[in-house]
C-alpha cells in the first residue's frame, strides 16, 4: 500500500535537531533553584540493615537533606506491580513482590538504594556518602537459579517462605503421548545468559513542584509516560491533570526505561514537594549496570521428540527464570519465552513450565527481545541437535517442520504476555527461509565454498535459523490529529520515543491521509499535556498500535475535511480533491480552500452549527488489537574462526524478515540492523556476570563489552517479504526486536560448524574467544 509518502524511504524529520546538538535530552534540562539527588546504594547483595546514621552528612556544606526508608513514613510502600499476575492461565501460581523504592530492614540486591542525598550539586551529594554510617549484616546471597528454587542458601523474601516467584505450566496436545510415539527423543540442558540494555543515555528524572499552581512537572526518560504520571499522581493524592510528564529526546530505551515505581519516580516527587525545590537525578553508568533492570538468565531442560524422518511430534521445556530480587514486571519475559519456543514450527504437542525464582540480583524486566531470544534459542538448539542425531541438513529439518501459510492463522494454545492465547496471524515462514537460502547461496556454500575453504585449512561455518517475533500487543494506544490554522497538522500520541523514528513514520501515515507533506506534520510523543491515554512503548508496538490509532484519527479528520469542504465549496464530497495542503473542486483547481482556512471555517466563532458536528478539523482515534501481530524471519551467518587465537570474523550476515506493511524502508532497515548488533553483542561480547556473592563484576563498559564499529560484519544483508497482518488496517507488524531474537542461535550454530572437527555442542547463548577455546579444549581431551 505504498503511497506518495507512506512506504517511502524518506529521511528522518527529527535528525536536524539531533545532529546539531539542539535536541533536548534530560540532562540538558536546567531549572532555576534546582538541586541534585544521589542514591547511596548497597554494596551487599543480601543483608539485614542494622543502622543507617546520616547525621554527619547533614552537616556537610551544600547538603540539603538526606532520607532513608524510615523518613518516608507511610509514603513508603512496595509497588504497585507494573504488570498484573497471569491469572488468565489456569493453575498458575504467582507470588507478587513488587519493587520497594528504597531498602527497609533488608537489602536484596547489590545496588539497592539505602539513602537519598539532596545537595546543591551532584558532587556534594556523592561526597556526603562518606559521612553516612551504614551497618549491614551480610546474609548468604541467592545466586544460582536451581539452588534458589530449592530455597538455598537463603530466602530472598523471608515472609514468603519460598524463593518461588511463579510456577506456570501450559500444554497443547499431549507431550507424553507424543513422546511415546517418537523414534528419537533428544534432551538438553540449555543456558541463556544475562545481558544489559545499555542504552547510551542513562536514565534520568527531573521534577518540579509548583506550589502556587499546585502542579507538578516531571521530565523522565520513560518508555511509559502515562502510567508513570498515573502512579505519581495516585501516590501523592493528586489528580492526573496536576501532574505533567514530559519525555524529552531519549537516548535509547530497549526495555528497562519502561520501569516505574523505582527510587527516582517514587521518592523524588515527594521530596520535591517537601523541599519546594526542583530536583534532578541523572543515573551514572555504574548505576545503570547495577540498578537498572536487565534480562535473560534462564536454565532450560528441554526435550524434542521426532520421527526418524525428522518430523517434530512434540517439545517439552521446563525452565528456571531469574526474576531478580522482586517481580514488579509480572511474567512478561518468561511468558514470551513460552510463546516463542514453538516459534514458527509445527509442534503438535508442547509442554512448557516456568519456574520463576527470586535471587539476590537486579530485577529482570524486558530488554530488546524480551524472552523471545530465549525461546528461539532453545528451539533452535533442539533443532540443531535433532539434525545432528538424524544426520539431516540444518536447513532441511527446518524446512520440513515450518508451518505452511494455509495453516495460519493458528491458535497456539499458549497464553502469552498479553494474557490471551497466542495466534500466529499471518506469514509465509517457508518462503522466508527459502529466500534466505537463495540470498546466502546455501547449496553452493555447502557443496563448493565451504569444502574448498576447509581444504585450505580455513575454519568457516554457517548458522541458519528461523524465528518469530510476537509484536504489537494490546491493550491499546490513542492519538489526536489536528489541522491547525497554519495549514499544518499536529499529532499527539501517548507513547514515547527512544530513537525509533516515530516522528517520521507517524508523519508519513498522517501525510498520506491528509494530503500534506510529511514535513508539515508535527508529531508530539510522550507529553501527557498533549495526549493522556495510552500504555507505552514496548513489545515493538509503536508503529503498529500507536500508528494504527493515528491512522484511525487521520481517517476521521479526512472525513471531516470532505464534509466541511463540501459545505463551503457547495459540491458533494465525491467532487472534491484533497492534496498539497488544500481542497478543490474536481476539474476546477481555481475553486480551492487551503486546509488552514478550512480549519478556521470548521471552528466558527459566531452563528450556528449543524447538530452532531464537532468543531475543528480534529479527531481522536484509538486502536486495541485482539492479540498481537506476529512477524517472522530467518537468519544465516557465516563466520571464520582462527583456531589458534579463537578470533572470530563475521563474513556474512543475512536476515530475511516479514513485518507486514513497511511504512519507511530506510528506518526499517535501521531497526533491523540495530537489533542485529545487539544480538551479536549478546552472542559474543556482552555478558553480565554476578559472582557467588551476588556482586556484579561487569559494571562498566570496560568489563561489559559492547560491539564496536570494528566488530560488525561488512554489511548486514536484509531481505524483505511482506505478508500483511489482518489485525490492523495498515497491515503492520512490529520489527524492533527482530534482529536481536535469532542472532545468538545462528551464532552458536555457525561456531560449531566452523569448528566442525571438534564436534562441539554449545549449550549456552553467550560466547567469547576464551569460551570457544574452553569448549575446544574440552572436546580435544574427549577426542
Amino acid at each position: 500500500m505504498t503511497g506518495k509518502v507512506f512506504g517511502q524511504p524518506i529521511p528522518r524529520l527529527e535528525d536536524q535537531f539531533l545532529l546539531t546538538g539542539t535536541a533536548k535530552f534530560i540532562d540538558d534540562i536546567e531549572i532555576p533553584g534546582m538541586v541534585h539527588a544521589a542514591f547511596l546504594r548497597s554494596d551487599y547483595a543480601h543483608a539485614r540493615i542494622k543502622k543507617i546514621d546520616y547525621s554527619a552528612a547533614l552537616k556537610r556544606p551544600g547538603v540539603i537533606a538526606v532520607y532513608t526508608a524510615e523518613d518516608f513514613g507511610d509514603y513508603w510502600r512496595p509497588g504497585p506491580l507494573q504488570v498484573p499476575p497471569p491469572t488468565a492461565i489456569k493453575g498458575s501460581q504467582f507470588n507478587a513482590r513488587p519493587l520497594v523504592p528504597i531498602a527497609k530492614d533488608k537489602v536484596r540486591f547489590s545496588g539497592e538504594p539505602l539513602a537519598v542525598v539532596i545537595a546543591e550539586s551532584r558532587y556534594i551529594a556523592e561526597d556526603a556518602f562518606d559521612d553516612i554510617i551504614v551497618d549491614l549484616e551480610p546474609l548468604p546471597a541467592v545466586v544460582d537459579l536451581e539452588e534458589a528454587w530449592e530455597n538455598k542458601p537463603a530466602l530472598v523474601h523471608d515472609d514468603l517462605g519460598t524463593n518461588m516467584a511463579a510456577l506456570v505450566k501450559q500444554e497443547r496436545g499431549n507431550y507424553e503421548e507424543a513422546r511415546a510415539k517418537a523414534d528419537v527423543v533428544i534432551s538438553r540442558k540449555i543456558l541463556v545468559n544475562r545481558n544489559a540494555a545499555a542504552a547510551m543515555e542513562n536514565r534520568g528524572f527531573v521534577v518540579n513542584w509548583d506550589e502556587r499552581e499546585q502542579e507538578m512537572t516531571v521530565w523522565a526518560t520513560t518508555q511509559a509516560p502515562i502510567p508513570l504520571r498515573n502512579t505519581i499522581a495516585a501516590r501523592l493524592g493528586l489528580f492526573e491533570n496536576q501532574v505533567r510528564v514530559i519525555t524529552p529526546f531519549i537516548g535509547g530505551g530497549f526495555g528497562p526505561k519502561i520501569m516505574t515505581s523505582q527510587a527516582d519516580d517514587v521518592l523524588l516527587p515527594w521530596i520535591a514537594m517537601k523541599l519546594k525545590r526542583p530536583i534532578k537525578w541523572i543515573e551514572d553508568r555504574r548505576e545503570n549496570f547495577l540498578a537498572t533492570t536487565s534480562e535473560r538468565d534462564q536454565v532450560h531442560y528441554a526435550e524434542i521428540a521426532l520421527t526418524k524422518d525428522g518430523v517434530i511430534l512434540g517439545v517439552k521445556d521446563v525452565f528456571y527464570h531469574n526474576t531478580g530480587a522482586y517481580d514488579p514486571y509480572g511474567m512478561t519475559v518468561p511468558l514470551n519465552t513460552q510463546t516463542h519456543t514453538i516459534s514458527n514450527y509445527r509442534v503438535p504437542s508442547f509442554y512448557t513450565e516456568i519456574r520463576m525464582v527470586f535471587t539476590n540480583q537486579m530485577v529482570v524486566t524486558p530488554v530488546r527481545g524480551a524472552g523471545r531470544p530465549e525461546g528461539v534459542f532453545v528451539m533452535e538448539r533442539l533443532m540443531d541437535a535433532a539434525a545432528r542425531e538424524l544426520n539431516m541438513d540444518p536447513a532441511e529439518i527446518r524446512l520440513k517442520n515450518l508451518l505452511e501459510p494455509n495453516e495460519l492463522p493458528l491458535r497456539t494454545g499458549i497464553i502469552g504476555q498479553d494474557f490471551v492465547e497466542g495466534v500466529l496471524d499471518s506469514g509465509n515462514y517457508k518462503a522466508n527461509l527459502q529466500k534466505l537460502m537463495e540470498m546466502v547461496e546455501y547449496e553452493k556454500f555447502r557443496k563448493e565454498i565451504q569444502p574448498a575453504l576447509r581444504a585450505q585449512g580455513k575454519h568457516v561455518g554457517m548458522g541458519i535459523v528461523c524465528f518469530t517475533e510476537g509484536t504489537a500487543v494490546g491493550p491499546y494506544e490513542g492519538a489526536r490529529v489536528t489541522i491547525g490554522g497554519n495549514g499544518k497538522v499536529s499529532v499527539a500520541t501517548g507513547i514515547s520515543t527512544q530513537g525509533q523514528g516515530h516522528f517520521t513514520v507517524f508523519a508519513q501515515i498522517v501525510a498520506e491521509q491528509l494530503g500534506v507533506k510529511a514535513e508539515d506534520v508535527n508529531v508530539v510523543t510522550g507529553d501527557t499535556a498533549h495526549f493522556h491515554w495510552g500504555a507505552g512503548t514496548f513489545a515493538s508496538r509503536g508503529a503498529a498500535v500507536a500508528g494504527t490509532a493515528i491512522y484511525n484519527a487521520a481517517v476521521k479528520v479526512r472525513e471531516k475535511i470532505f464534509a466541511t469542504a463540501s459545505k463551503w465549496l457547495e459540491v458533494p464530497p465525491e467532487q472534491i480533491e484533497l492534496g498539497d495542503g488544500k481542497v478543490w473542486v474536481k476539474g476546477k483547481p481555481e475553486q480551492f480552500i487551503t486546509l488552514g482556512d478550512l480549519a478556521f471555517r470548521a471552528n466558527p466563532t459566531r452563528g450556528v452549527i449543524e447538530p452532531g458536528v464537532e468543531p475543528g478539523l480534529e479527531a481522536t482515534g484509538y486502536y486495541g488489537p485482539p492479540y498481537g501481530a506476529t512477524g517472522a524471519g530467518a537468519v544465516a551467518m557465516i563466520v571464520e574462526i582462527d583456531p589458534e587465537t579463537m578470533e572470530l570474523k563475521i563474513k556474512r550476515f543475512v536476515i530475511v524478515h516479514d513485518c507486514g506493511t513497511v511504512i519507511n524502508p530506510l528506518l526499517l532497515e535501521g531497526q533491523v540492523e540495530g537489533g542485529v548488533s545487539m544480538g551479536i553483542g549478546n552472542a559474543f561480547y556482552e555478558k553480565m556476570v554476578y559472582d557467588e556473592n551476588g556482586q556484579l563484576l561487569t559494571a562498566s563498559f570496560m568489563d561489559y563489552l559492547m560491539p564496536q564499529a570494528t566488530d560488525m560484519p561488512p554489511k548486514i544483508e536484509i531481505g524483505h517479504l511482506t505478508t500483511t497482518s489482518p489485525l490492523n488496517p495498515l497491515g503492520i507488524k512490529g520489527v524492533g526486536e527482530a534482529g536481536a531474537i535469532p542472532t545468538p542461535s545462528a551464532f552458536v550454530q555457525a561456531v560449531e560448524d566452523a569448528l566442525f572437527e571438534y564436534q562441539l555442542e554449545i549449550p549456552e547463548s553467550n560466547l567469547s574467544p576464551s569460551k570457544i577455546f574452553e569448549y575446544v579444549q574440552k572436546a580435544s581431551k574427549k577426542g
Binding site: P9, T20, G670
Partner: protein, 156 residues
Amino acid sequence: MSFHRIILTVNGSTEQVDVPGNMTLLQMLREKLALTGTKNGCAAGECGACTVLMNGEPVNSCMVLAAECDGAEIVTVEGLAQDGQLDIVQQTIIDEGGVQCGFCTPGMLISARALLNRNPSPTEAEIREALVGNLCRCTGYARIISAVKAAAEATQ
C-alpha cells in the same frame, strides 16, 4: 577548591571561564557554556559520547580537565554547521539513515570530522578504526560508516 581562570576558543568564539580544579571539559562545556550538545554516556572515557575536537584532535572531553584547556581551540557538535549550512557528514548521516536515538551522534560526528580532516579519502577499515571509540547501541554502525564514506566521496 582551587579555581582557574582560562581563556579558550570554543566553536570560533573566545571564552573566559573560571573553573574549579576538578571540573572536566565536558562539564565546563555543558554547565558553564550551555553547550549541551556534547553528551555524557559514562564519564569514564569508555563510550565516546563526549568527543570534541581539542586543537584539531578528537578527545573524550570527560577525561580532560577544563583547567588544561587554557589557550585551547575546542570544536563541539554545535560548531560543525557553518552559517546554517550543515557539515557534509551531518548531511550524509541524515541521507544514509545513520541516526536513531541521536545520543551517540554528536561524538560520532566529531570523530568523523576529525578523520576526514586528517584523511579526506579514508578506506572503510580506516573509518571503522576512527569510530572505534564511539559506542552506538542503536544503529549497528553500518549507516554511520556509509555516511562517512559518502561524505568523503562528496568532498573529493
